[in-house]
């Protein structure tokens, strides 16, 4: 596919969230993940002609993203790599098994966000939109950092449960 074609640009634009999430889950460092996303985008553009029209773009893009994370880890000192090599490889395998579904997950997430209780949606907004750190949120709400962190965990878990449910329903 031509990298300058509207179709390619559209596919790449739509896949940004999923590629970022793929990178972040293998190397949960937001700064590095942003850099890796940019590098991945450049590679995807250079390799656009390799993409077979009609196949799953996000699966193709996240495969290339995993190569970038792997390459990045090679340059890191061992203590800076968040996961040990063997565990990293296991996570890559599990993640690759999910890659065909990533687009559905994103669609489902948007729908699931709408059904969150208002207080939970507000917390996500403060955490993710307003650059609110967990510590700042805890101080603001008079709770412990651990309590806010666990609440965010439960909200993300409920979102994931909702995503799985919706994807399953769509597959029926």
């Amino acid at each position: 596919m031509d990298r300058s074609s509207d179709e390619f640009m559209l596919l790449l634009t739509k896949a940004q969230s999923s590629i970022y999430a793929c990178i972040f889950s293998l190397h949960p460092d937001p700064v590095a993940a942003s850099d890796l996303l940019q590098e991945t985008n450049l590679t995807l553009c250079r390799k656009a002609e390799d993409f077979e029209k009609g196949t799953n773009f996000t699966a193709w893009a996240t495969r290339i993203a995993r190569y970038h994370v792997l390459n990045y880890r090679r340059k890191l000192k061992r203590e800076k790599a968040i996961f040990e090599p063997d565990l990293f490889e296991e996570l890559c395998v599990v993640q690759e098994q999910r890659s065909d579904e990533l687009d559905r997950y994103l669609h489902a997430l948007r729908d699931c966000l709408q059904h969150l209780p208002p207080a939970h949606r507000q917390l996500l907004q403060e955490r993710y939109t307003s650059e609110g750190s967990v510590s700042a949120l805890a101080s603001q709400q008079g709770k412990t950092v651990s309590a806010i962190s666990q609440l965010l965990y439960r909200i993300r878990q409920s979102l994931m449960d909702c995503i799985y449910r919706k994807v399953q329903e769509a597959n029926l």
Binding site: Q16, Y20, A33, E90, S149
Partner: protein
Amino acid sequence: MSTANQKSARELIADLCDGLLQPEDRAKLTELLREDPLLQNEYLDQAMVDGLLRYELGIDRPTIPSQFFAPPRNNLIKLTLGTLVVALLVSLFLGGYSWFDKNRLVDIPVQLSNNSFERDLGISLTPISSGWYGDEAQSVVGDQGHLAPHGNRMLQFVRSLHQPSNECEIYQLIDLSAVTDTSRREPLFLEAKMVANVRANGEKTSYLIALELYTYSELSELDIVLAPDRLGKNVRVSSHKIAADSDPESWQEVKLVMPLPNDSRYGIVKISAHESGTGADGKYQEVFVDNVQIRMTNKEVF
């Protein structure tokens, strides 16, 4: 996974996602993840949702290389809003100094990007660029005799491959801040109109085409990402729906007028197609829209 480990593991995973994991806890988390494939899945669930939220809602949304793409979303929104502000200010200036003259007809076009769909939509799930966002839709030249009534191209709704649905909706953000004034006395109205046509895709299938306007006094990025009709606060809505007629060649006008609340700062225009009945064969490619226009007036013209 034991209960004791589960609690500990969840705390550690939460710490990792929130940037709170201490170096001494990293080895413990690694050990727990190595032992337990279910926990690996749980970690990937958490990290994936965390990553999607970070990107979708904003804090880690990076710049896309400019040599390949348009500017990043934040800049584009600012650029678009800036352009709109300038355009509206120029309109006000050209309109003379009698803005507050009660007898004068105020008639200010509200600029929409790609309003007659002459350019490819490049539609996004989120307003990553100026223009339309939402479900899947495309700009087409014509289809089996359907020609665009304005310009060369028109909008065609598309059934999503990822999430097939009987509703297809697209949105565009509009900035009203330059022309709304909480101290003004005379009422203002927003008028919106477009033309639509449907070629029914089966005898038992029916369609509704809708044009809706939403105005807000406040609008966060989260609100923009979410569908506007699901928002509960600071929102006013007006809509007009038409049913598909039996003539596949005729274009129908869809139009609405809504009083513009003084505190309106932002608006969203929504265009949607709703399909019902049992005749749908999955193509859903027969709904067309063209020439969406919005204007601000001090008199109800329609």
